[in-house]
């Protein structure tokens, strides 16, 4: 019997329900308002008063309205057919909703129950299995989608029946499993899981040991993201957070990308809807939309569902990770999620923490980030969730609760700088403040040195050093004037400018430059460092800038050309000539001097 209750208080989307029955923290209930059923989640219980946050507008709601508790937490439905979908924060399929406007209480099925999938069994009768073990496989778009022992199954089971290869709907019986007490359980292609509980059907979660290629030079080369790692991108408005995330979703070496559009602009989601079906996945040649799923809770959608949306996205990611896939999970912006928490805690009149955010904000954020990671599944395969969130700090000031809490939870910090954005040095990731903790992991360093080049990490540190020294000398030049400093300062400065223009900056809208694979990054860093290591002779500081500008221009042309193409080689040749000419000049002068 479901617990019933009645509404006794309404403060915006916080509703107080009184009940004589049992209710559980985070339990879902429906408020039976007229013809519509408004979904809500229990967030606090005091005596017989249950406080629920309603995922919809509460306009018109009255005291005394009936409430039905559901006996389970907020769940997602997991099964083939999630890819390429556009869901709202509660996993309603937006395309199935009728009309131009979202109707309150309109909940649509996340999966197609009629669509047929070609099933191939992987397990055999008699196999001993546990939660998460692969029983069979269907093709979802091009991706092998594993049909698994449901994560809710505890202990060991024996496969009693397994369905033969063929075409089936998701609700068809795929297997029958016998538990330790001899009871039989039917398994279909679908299962449900509560979003706030991590899926732990894996053997082990090691430290990340390899990197996830993103195609961004400033990330892969200077501040690499580990596969299964975590990172965040804080930045003032307009500094390029969304552009970076959209580019990651296009170019990163992931099998699958889940985008949680969390309290941001609807037009940005529309961009993905519109462009991804047209764009090619650089790795597979298929359309990008085939590997992408969008969870859209835009800023004008109900605030409580915004909080749910990031959990919905994470749970879907965990489901696919259990299939041995590499998932990239992006959330834009986690600040909006934190603000949703703040609004609710405010209405509940909880004691506020800094800036009015709930006291437990740091814990909530770090729990969420800890759900990412690379794992060894029970069958020994690996699967991973790499999570990158954006943070929108109030006033662009990084000393605020969301940024500070996230900094403790995430291992990579990609700080977007207003100054770089203003001077159109995109991506505006600050080369000095940003970091990747993974660069300090010996296993990652070893991975980089063995897959890219022996001295790779040394080179990376050298590049960072040049950038730092360049910044220092720039400040000196600004104080003392161009001719008030030794010529060498100009050289140091321009060498760092060269790294800035050639390695750090990358045109997100250029079809070639927007994605720079690792071998190409290796080549370009070598080229750039070669030049930086050389000693050049100049008569006066006025010669330095024009010469470096020409060199930078040639290197940029290389970035814009297809790797190793004729054009690329031609610019490379021009560059080499330019360098030899300068060196020859220096030698001439040395001779003259001698």
């Amino acid at each position: 019997m479901k617990t019933k209750g009645k509404v006794t208080g309404i403060i915006a989307n916080l509703v107080v329900v009184e009940t004589e029955g049992t209710a559980a923290q985070n339990e879902i209930c429906f408020i039976l308002h007229g013809d519509s059923r408004l979904m809500a989640e229990v967030i606090r219980i005091t005596g017989n008063k249950v406080y629920v946050q309603v995922f919809e507008s509460t306009r018109g709601l009255k005291i005394g309205t009936d409430v039905e508790f559901q006996g389970h937490m907020l769940e997602v439905t997991l099964g083939p057919g999630i890819l390429s979908r556009n869901y709202d924060g509660l996993q309603n399929d937006l395309d199935k909703m009728e009309g131009v406007f979202l109707k309150r209480g309109d909940y649509t099925a996340p999966l197609d129950h009629e669509r047929k999938f070609a099933f191939t069994p992987l397990a055999s009768v008699g196999d001993k299995v546990e939660a998460g073990i692969w029983l069979g496989e269907v093709k979802e778009n091009w991706m092998p989608h594993k049909i698994m022992v449901p994560f809710t199954f505890k202990g060991e089971y024996v496969v009693k029946e397994i369905t033969a290869a063929g075409e089936y709907c998701i609700d068809d019986q795929m297997a029958v499993l016998t538990d330790e007490s001899g009871r039989d359980h039917v398994v279909t292609m679908v299962q449900k899981w509560p979003v706030k509980v991590p899926i732990r059907a894996y053997r082990e979660k090691p430290r990340p040991f390899r990197i996830l290629e993103t195609g961004y030079r400033v990330i892969d080369t200077l501040n690499p993201m580990a596969e299964g790692g975590t990172g965040f991108i804080p930045g003032p408005f307009g500094s390029g957070k969304t552009v970076v995330q959209h580019n990651l979703s296009r170019n990163a070496e992931a099998d699958l990308v889940i985008i949680a559009a969390c309290g941001e602009r609807a037009n940005e989601v529309v961009e993905v809807f519109t462009e991804f079906p047209e764009l090619d996945d650089p790795r597979t040649g298929r359309k990008l939309i085939e590997r992408t799923t969008i969870i859209a809770n835009t800023s004008n959608m109900p605030v409580a569902a915004r909080e749910a949306s990031v959990y919905t996205a994470m749970t879907i990611a965990e489901y696919y990770r259990s299939m041995g896939l590499r998932i990239l999970l992006l959330a834009d912006s986690t600040s909006r999620w934190a603000q949703a928490l703040r609004e609710m805690s405010n209405r509940m009149e909880e004691l506020p923490g800094p800036d009015g955010f709930p006291m437990d904000l740091p814990a909530i954020i770090s729990n969420f980030y800890s759900r990412a990671g690379i794992v060894y599944l029970n069958n020994g395969e690996t699967g991973s969730i790499t999570f990158i969130g954006t943070v929108s700090p109030a006033g662009g000031n990084l000393k605020e609760p969301v940024t500070e809490s996230t900094k403790k939870a995430a291992r990579c910090f990609y700080a977007l700088s207003q100054q770089r954005a203003d001077s159109k040095r995109y991506p505006a990731i600050d080369p000095i403040d940003s970091y990747s903790k993974y660069l300090e992991y010996p296993e990652i360093a070893e991975y980089l040195n063995s897959t890219i080049a022996d001295n790779w990490t040394d080179n990376v540190l050298e590049a960072k050093d040049i950038l730092l020294r360049g910044k220092e000398t720039y400040e000196q030049i600004n104080i003392l004037g161009d001719d008030g400093v030794p010529l060498d300062y100009h050289l140091k400065y321009w060498k760092s400018e060269l790294l800035d223009f050639v390695i750090l900056q990358q045109d997100a809208f250029d079809p070639i430059d927007q994605r720079c694979p690792l071998d190409r990054q290796h080549f370009m860093l070598d080229q750039a460092l070669d030049i930086c290591r050389k000693e050049f002779e100049f008569e006066s500081f006025e010669e330095v800038a024009p010469w470096f500008k020409e060199v930078i221009n040639l290197l940029k042309q290389m970035n814009f050309a297809e790797f190793n193409s004729e054009d690329f080689e031609r610019y490379g040749k021009l560059l080499a000539d330019k360098l030899t000419e300068r060196e020859a000049k220096a030698e001439d002068e040395d001779e003259k001097a001698a």
Partner: protein
């Protein structure tokens, strides 16, 4: 003010609590966000705990006594919409100022959002004739963008010009704490242009109670939705000044004892503003809502919670600045940004538009550096001198808000300035464009 009474209306006469903006009383069967009339003033339910109902009184509670009459209407705030909205002005409650009636049906304001999958990616350019906008910060239908401006800047004038030139089917003016002078100015300008039949105004002036303002944007946007959705019209909504809207929000949340966040603003400011701005939309069938708003700044501070939250919501922002070198107000090319411009420039406009725009702004930035050098007492190079000459001319002929030319002429003007001050190499646009658009005889002259 006359209102219908019906059998369903319940009347109460015992107020339990009064604050400057709210009243509380015991009542039953009341819906959340329902409207009521408290002592003849419009009010809305904001909180119900058991039998205790709290109402926000839009006109303020001055003089309301504990035995005031409270009549619940059983309805959420609504606007009557129909073709005959056109050409008329309304108060914050959606009542025609001409005293007449509206024939259409009633619509709840602040209604649900558009399903994102029913939107179309914006792609239709709005030509305003102002090069600071069309050339550098091109606007697109379905976009939402505010002017960030100090109170003394002529944003209302620029906005009126933009509105008149925008070729919109309807222009809806939401006056939020507009001064009476500015209200009359808008009316006068629209009238002079013979455009009054395309205009609809919802006006709250500084003479009206501040909390009333909270209704104005929703009224304006509900009317906009009617014309965009049902008539497939291109609607331009002007909201001025949303800083005063946010101030009104903080008054109410303060009265309700909510914990303020940054700058005494309610913690929900982002969601509250986003709910309005996100009404901007392009529909596949041609209907659209474009929002141009004003956010006044205090002392140019954009880190204040109001402009800051706005910047996180809108698709760019336009800054006006007085250029003392040429003595004109210009659209600041550095701080202004239209985020949707890349959807149209070089696609709907001439192919070299993005390059010309970037080159000109870059050269203008070089001029700014030269100016700093000059101020710090360092010597200027010949190049520095030329950038300064360019900057004045660029400011005067393109950035100034009194410019009114088409985009091709803007591009031609840019080339004229390039030719006058620089060589093609210094301008640094693609060779194909130089060959095609940099006039032959001038190109040789500059070499």
């Amino acid at each position: 003010m006359e209102r219908e009474t019906s059998a369903f209306q319940r009347i109460y006469t015992r107020l339990f609590q009064l604050t400057k903006a709210t009243v509380s009383l015991k009542a039953t069967g009341i819906g959340n966000e329902e409207l009521a009339i408290v002592d003849g003033r419009l009010a809305q339910v904001v909180k119900i705990i058991g039998e205790m109902v709290t109402l926000q009184v839009f006109a303020g509670t001055e003089g309301i006594a504990t035995n005031a009459e409270v009549v619940f209407t059983g309805k959420a705030p609504a606007l009557r919409v129909g073709e005959d909205l056109a050409g008329r002005f309304f108060n914050a409650y959606g009542e025609p100022m001409d005293g007449g009636q509206i024939l259409g049906q009633e619509r709840e304001i602040g209604g649900p959002s558009v399903n994102p999958v029913r939107r179309k990616q914006p792609s239709e350019l709005i030509a305003t004739g102002i090069a600071g906008i069309d050339l550098n910060n091109t606007l697109v239908t379905g976009q939402k963008i505010p002017f960030f401006a100090d109170p003394d800047q002529p944003f209302n004038q620029v906005m009126a010009n933009v509105a008149l030139r925008a070729k919109a089917d309807k222009i809806i003016l939401g006056g939020v704490g507009l001064t009476n002078d500015d209200y009359l100015y808008f009316k006068h300008v629209f009238d002079n242009a013979g455009a009054l039949d395309r205009i609809i105004g919802f006006i709250n002036t500084t003479e009206n109670p501040p909390v009333e303002r909270l209704l104005v944007p929703d009224m304006a946007l509900s009317a906009a939705e009617y014309f965009a959705v049902e008539k497939q019209e291109k609607v331009l909504v002007l909201l001025t000044d949303l800083t005063l809207y946010a101030d009104a929000l903080s008054i109410v949340s303060n009265r309700m004892d909510q914990i303020p966040s940054k700058d005494s603003m309610p913690g929900s400011l982002y969601s509250d503003l986003a709910r309005l701005y996100e009404k901007a939309v392009q529909f596949p069938d041609g209907g659209s809502i474009t929002i141009i708003a004003v956010t006044t700044l205090s002392g140019g501070d954009i880190t204040h919670a109001i402009p800051d939250n706005t910047g996180y919501i809108t698709e760019g922002q336009l800054f006006l600045r007085k250029d003392s070198d040429v003595g004109k107000v210009i659209v600041d090319p550095f701080r202004s940004l239209s985020r949707l411009k890349q959807l149209v420039i070089g696609k709907k406009t001439r192919e070299d538009h993005p390059q010309v725009m970037n080159a000109a702004v870059r050269l203008y930035a070089d001029a700014a550096n030269a100016k700093t050098k000059l101020e710090n007492g360092f010597d200027l190079t010949d190049y520095d001198e030329r950038t300064l000459g360019f900057a004045s001319a660029y400011s005067e002929k393109l950035l100034a808000i009194d410019v009114n030319i088409d985009i091709d002429t803007m591009l031609e003007t840019a080339y004229e300035l390039f030719r006058e001050y620089f060589s093609p190499a210094e301008v640094g646009i693609k060779q194909v464009f130089v060959d095609k658009y940099w006039k032959k005889e001038a190109a040789t002259a500059a070499e």
